[in-house]
Amino acid sequence: MLVDFFLQLKQAKVPVTVREYLSLLEALDRQVVWGSVEDFYYLARLCLVKDETNFDKFDRVFAQYFEGVTALGEELETQIPEEWLRKLSELVLSEEEKSQIEALGGFEKLMETLKQRLAEQKERHQGGSKWIGTGGRSPFGAYGYNPEGVRIGQDGSRHRRAVKVWDRREFKNLDGSVELGTRNIKVALRRLRHFAREGAPEVLDMPGTIRATANNAGYLDLKMVPKLHNKVKVLLFFDVGGSMDEHIKVCEELFSAARVEFKSLEYFYFHNFIYENVWRDNQRYRAERIDLWDVIHTYGPDYKLIFVGDAAMSPYEISMVGGSVEHYNDEAGYVWGQRLLDAYRDAIWLNPTPQGWWNFTQSVGMVRQLMDGRMFPLTLAGLDEGIRLLSKIQR
């Protein structure tokens, strides 16, 4: 009974177990619901799904299995967002192919042709190499490749090159409430715990009490000590936007785990590389910036420094005055990087791109050199290694 349904759920990657399936059967047996498909739907969901993020998957399997059930309501409608310029596919091109694609001509001409085509084109388009749309080889549209392309309807660079970004980037704040798969990360971060007794004495000090009682000729003399607290302090610097878009999920997980694990956690965002100021709110990062000197002066040298970023950028962004992509920086990026490293001796850089790719980007090498080789991939193993290093230099 309902075995197929159970197996289909399993296939759709809803985490269901036999135990939960049996409890559904038990509930049916005890006639918790009777005769209503809608009630059965609620009951099945109650028994089988234990996380609201899986509700959607469950709904789809349910609808498919119980064909003809139409009473599911609004959830189903949200699954067919038919958006103009939505990313559906991506072009995977080798370097060779990329070089084969000819650029169309000068910038002026590009803009002119774009206007023309926008006027000609009336429907959604994807793929192909002339019309504006996503995933194609036309110079107009997003998620495709043409060396002189103009991006439309895309919120970040994919191939890290474009003549002009039309839509202004909206960086996403890392969501601290995302909890998927953070358990492992938390366990790794726990290694950094550094306990110390501070504050009001409220816990019984066993050895102290025994010693004092012995000194007191056997009469009880209670001694109290302050409770153990996790004393470690962490500064987190996140690279956001642009090339980091594909790593948002893993960064959110790290961020949410770190927020729970460390009481003294301060976080800041930067774009590509550290310059004279950073920010804490990506919605308003143009308005509310924090001077990096203030950061250094506010948080003492006992803080541990963790950078999270892919370190993929143009080498000028690190080495040159005025090299930043966002503004004119009076001092080169590496000067600011070095200042931070001088202020905080315990520092690591976590890189979400796979370690095998690091050698292909020059800037990664430069950052690694700056960090004295203390760069680790943002995987569980890498995180483990990095945290181990941080706790080793703990004093």
Binding site: P15, T17, R19, E20, S23, E26, A27, R30, V32, V33, E38, D39, Y42, L43, L46, C47, V49, K50, D51, E52, F55, S177, E179, L180, T182, R183, K186, L204, Y219, L220, L222, V260, D281, Q283
Partner: protein, 280 residues
């Protein structure tokens, strides 16, 4: 024994079904949902509706699982022994019962609320697996097996601050309280403020749902904030027209401090309103 909401608590069909399934099968019911959707209230209302005693165990970050079962107060026993108190010979005098024990011992079936289980250490739910499953536990000091006389209705709430372990989830029923739609909201308000002017309610709800749509709010106003706000509106005798006079989103509603509770959200909202005014 069937639960179907009370005169002061509007429960949707799926929530009723979840509670009734938990009652019938004697399984713990895990409740999640946006803050202010009445997760904690549910246990109180179930207890009231079904006339059962309610035991509340509010979990904090320092709460340990065995505090819910019992605690052995060694320090006061040691002190009593020094003072020559007679009580010291009976170890049972120093066993302090926890909420779970009290609920298990109850003469009639009871409701046990384990509130905000996600606040505790991540190992906390794992330490309660056996107790919630078999509804029994062993007291080592007195070598007693405590078994529930009647399986209590256990309602557990979580705010999603920590992920709960799979083994724990498998033993629970899970229900996510969705944010109420406009229709349910009218019922909820009706229950709390009977006879509120329809025109005021209508424009207040419009403003409220409009405010929830504002992008980028750190904390969206919830049901409990709406109820507080309505209380203020009624107390200040603000007419419906004051809420309705301009297009929604283009004016700051009166007493909006009751809906938005942090200064960043207030700032954002005021700026958005200012912008849309200029944009007109």
């Amino acid at each position: 024994m069937k639960f179907s909401g009370t005169d002061s608590y509007i429960a949707t069909n799926d929530l009723n079904l979840a509670v009734n399934a938990a009652i019938t099968l004697g399984r713990p019911l895990l409740i999640k949902g946006e803050p202010g959707t009445g997760k904690t209230m549910l246990a109180e209302e179930v207890a009231r509706a079904l006339n059962m005693p309610l035991y509340q165990w509010h979990v904090k970050s320092t709460t340990k699982a065995n505090q819910g079962l019992y605690e052995y107060d060694a320090v006061s026993r040691l002190r009593d022994s020094q003072l020559g108190d007679e009580r010291v010979h009976e170890i049972g005098n120093y066993i302090v019962k926890g909420k779970l024990w009290e609920a298990f011992e109850s003469e009639q079936r009871s409701v046990l609320l384990i509130d905000e289980i996600d606040k505790a250490d991540i190992e906390f739910p794992n330490d309660l697996l056996q107790e919630l499953d078999r509804m029994e536990f062993y007291v080592y000091e007195t070598r007693q097996l405590i078994k529930a006389r009647h399986r209590p209705v256990i309602i557990i709430t979580s705010n999603n601050e920590k992920e709960l372990p799979d083994a724990f989830l498998r033993r629970c029923f899970f229900h996510y309280i969705r944010f109420p739609d406009a229709e349910t909201m009218v019922q909820i308000v009706e229950v709390h403020y009977p006879g509120i002017k329809q025109s005021l309610l209508k424009s207040a709800l419009e403003t409220f749902f409009g405010m929830r749509e504002v992008p980028g709010l750190k904390k969206k106003p919830s049901t409990s904030e709406l109820l507080d706000w309505l209380k203020l509106l009624v107390a200040e005798e603000i007419p419906a027209e004051a809420l309705h006079s301009k297009e929604p989103g283009k004016s700051i509603p009166p007493l909006h401090g009751a809906l938005l509770k942090n200064e960043q959200d207030l700032g954002l909202f005021e700026r958005l309103v200012g912008m849309s005014r200029r944009g007109r």
